[in-house]
């Protein structure tokens, strides 16, 4: 009797286990299928860039070969010419200067603004926070016309310092918005404890809030970096001489002459330009994800 009684549920449990395992296998197979599909889809353009950048001009001109493979052997000539005979390094330096300045300005402004709007409740703070986010919704393709007047009136037209001035209009609202959310997710008792411990608002920000909100700050920094590194409309409109140009516009304008496209160098330039964001993402990815999912769980 007792054996039978035990045997029945045991068989049942095995049945459930098998179906669970089968379910899991199906889920995994479907996930892998789509992940591989997406990986191929997104990796094809970079692959094409690498292949093209490693080809000689002669091979590219020969229409008979398959453009997806290298037939005459890989060469770094495109990179050599790009770095030595064009203004690419000047563009790179300009972009780096602009980006570092923009990230610094953005972080100072948005962290201070977010702290004030998120933690120091004052009359109209909620409305101001929404207002800041609304400014982010105005696209740069609309803003560049009035912005042109402003930049021109202060004499920064055709200077990359003009970019340092205008890029924060894109980065500050969004970064402030991210940081407000992050600061608000920090328990109120933490600043009360700091107040009682004797901290002023500035000490509270630097000693408690910034260290605690570091993942959010890094997420905001990556955003500001990406926006400023990849901006196209403003430099296109405001910069016209090569010594002031930034990577995005400079590479395109200097390597496309009329209807002559220097494909090898264009691809090599795009690869080198994509390297810094790639490296930064690779190192800070964990922080970035932690920052974007802040508030999902209480740490």
């Amino acid at each position: 009797m007792s054996t039978a009684a035990i045997a029945v549920p045991t068989t049942k449990r095995i049945g459930v286990g098998v179906s669970l395992r089968r379910n899991r296998r199906w889920a995994l197979m479907t996930s892998y299928f789509f992940l591989i599909l997406f990986a191929i889809f997104f990796l094809l353009p970079p692959y094409y860039m690498v292949v093209t950048a490693l080809k000689s001009d002669a091979e590219m001109a020969r229409m008979a070969t398959n453009p997806w493979f290298i037939f005459d052997g890989a060469t770094l000539d495109q990179f050599k010419i790009l770095l030595t005979q064009t203004d690419f390094l000047i563009f790179f330096k300009n972009t780096a200067i602009v980006t570092v300045c923009v990230v610094a300005i953005t972080m100072v402004v948005s962290v201070l603004a977010a702290f004030a709007l998120g933690r120091m409740k004052f009359w109209g703070s909620g409305m101001l926070a929404t207002g800041i986010f609304l400014t982010y919704l105005v696209p740069d393709t609309l803003l560049f016309i009035p912005m042109f007047q402003i930049v021109k009136s202060i004499g920064l037209l055709n200077s990359y310092w003009g970019m340092v001035l205008v890029y924060p209009t894109l980065t500050v609202p969004f970064c402030t918005w991210i940081m407000i959310g992050y600061f608000q997710s920090i328990p109120k008792e933490l600043d009360e404890a700091a107040l009682i411990d004797g901290a002023g608002h500035m000490q509270m920000l630097t000693k408690i809030f910034i260290p605690v909100a570091l993942p959010g700050i890094i997420a905001a920094m990556i955003f500001a970096f990406t926006v400023s590194w990849a901006a196209f409309v403003y430099p296109m409109a405001f910069l016209y001489s090569a010594d002031q140009q930034v990577l995005t516009v400079g590479t395109v304008t200097s390597l496309i002459r009329g209807d002559v496209y220097k494909w090898g160098m264009l691809m090599a330039g795009a690869l080198v330009a994509a390297a810094p964001p790639l490296v930064i993402y690779a190192f800070l990815m964990d922080y970035y994800i932690a920052g974007l999912t802040a508030g999902a769980t209480k740490g």
């Binding site: 328990p187 008792e189 933490l190 009360e192 404890a193 700091a194 107040l195 009682i196 411990d197 004797g198 901290a199 000490q203 000693k207 408690i208 260290p211 605690v212 570091l214 740490g299």
Partner: protein, 365 residues
């Protein structure tokens, strides 16, 4: 260490009155507990003492100095929060020394104080850890350590044990009492748990609807409640309150609970209640004064018959529940004397401990 005084203190949020007309004199070294249900204004009162909430009316002074307009850091107080509020990016030692560092204490002094507090709380081996690596009880100790190192005039505790599990709560309660006996700092402690209030306090302040209902020693509140609220709030389970009528019975008084049940009011209390003869009252008696009939230590009692509704064995005693004219009543009996639910049982009411409450004013007569 210092005394704390609250004079006519009130707090309003727009039209909502959170706290009104609170008057308290907390002498040096006292352990005062503010207790009451959620929303009664106890935490707001504590936060006003801390300076985390502005005062709408009245005056608060600490150590003889009026602190109404002083920011929290200048009030020389330390606070322990319900969710610990430890700085997550700092080690235990850094958490404890943060306040001292901001006040520019010399390093040797900071180390001395942190080590001393860690020894008192038995957390010396945790000094290098971060809050995330600690259990709830350990975190609460660190939060207390952060308060102790400052050596403030007043400790403020805001429901510090509410996040802990039942067993740890009892353990930490003893710990808090032990620490207070050692450092003797004036303490104001907020809790909604009346057991915590009774066990920790020198004096308990019962609050309800933003007002003080009664101030007194734990025994005082338990045995001599002044209002219906205090009578039902203090004690676990609370006092039985049964609608009744006070009747004349020759020279004495009877309190009639139902058609069948009526108790004779002891002589010692009859004079006090006589003016309410013929009126509706609430009859109050604690469960431990409704006991089994056997044994001789039950005091002067009156026996009556009930039908058991629910029986809850607790080990050392058994709670019996029954109905008197629709009102649920609880008694405490010896486990061996208890019968099963549905059965009849003879109980004895010890009327020396009875209370009568005027239902119109909710004041204990």
């Amino acid at each position: 260490m210092a005394e704390v005084t609250l004079r006519n203190v009130g707090k309003r949020y727009d039209d909502v009155v959170a706290v009104s007309n609170v008057n308290l004199d907390i002498p040096n070294h006292e352990f005062l507990v503010l207790v009451g249900p959620s929303g009664c204004g106890k935490s707001t009162t504590l936060r006003m003492i801390a300076g985390l909430e502005e005062i709408s009316d009245g005056e608060i002074s600490i150590g003889g100095e009026v602190v109404n307009d002083l920011p929290p850091k200048d009030r020389d107080i330390a606070m322990v929060f319900q969710n610990y509020a430890l700085y997550p990016h700092m080690t235990v030692a850094e958490n404890m020394s943060f306040g001292l560092k901001l006040r520019k204490f010399p390093k040797t002094e900071i180390k001395l104080r942190v080590d001393n507090a860690a020894r008192i709380l038995d957390i010396t081996e945790l000094l290098g850890r971060r809050p995330k690596q600690l259990s709830g009880g350990q975190r609460q100790r660190v939060a207390m350590g952060r308060a102790i190192v400052r050596n403030p005039k007043v400790f403020l505790f805001d429901e510090p044990l509410s996040n802990l599990d039942a067993k740890l709560r009892v353990q930490m309660r003893t710990e808090i009492k032990r620490v207070h006996q050692k450092v003797k700092t004036t303490t104001v402690y907020v809790t909604h748990d009346q057991v915590e209030a009774m066990t920790l306090a020198d004096r308990v302040v019962v609050m309800n609807n933003g007002k003080i209902e009664q101030i007194g020693t734990p025994n005082d509140l338990y045995h001599h409640p002044k209002t219906r609220f205090v009578a039902s709030f203090i004690g676990s389970p609370g006092m039985n309150l049964i609608p009744a009528k006070l009747e004349n019975n020759g020279g004495g008084l009877n309190v009639r609970l139902s058609d069948k049940l009526s108790f004779h009011v002891p002589e010692s209390r009859a004079a006090r209640y006589r003016t309410h003869t013929g009126k509706d009252v609430l009859f109050g008696l604690r469960p431990e004064h409704l006991t089994e009939t056997r044994g001789s230590e039950n005091g002067v009692g009156q026996e009556f018959q009930i039908t058991l509704d629910v029986v809850e064995p607790m080990g050392m005693e058994t709670m019996v529940f029954f109905k008197v004219d629709g009102t649920e009543v609880c008694g405490r009996v010896e486990p061996t004397a208890a019968k099963n639910s549905g059965e009849e049982m003879q109980l004895r009411a010890n009327l020396d401990h009875m209370h009568l409450i005027d239902p119109a004013t909710n004041v204990v007569l």
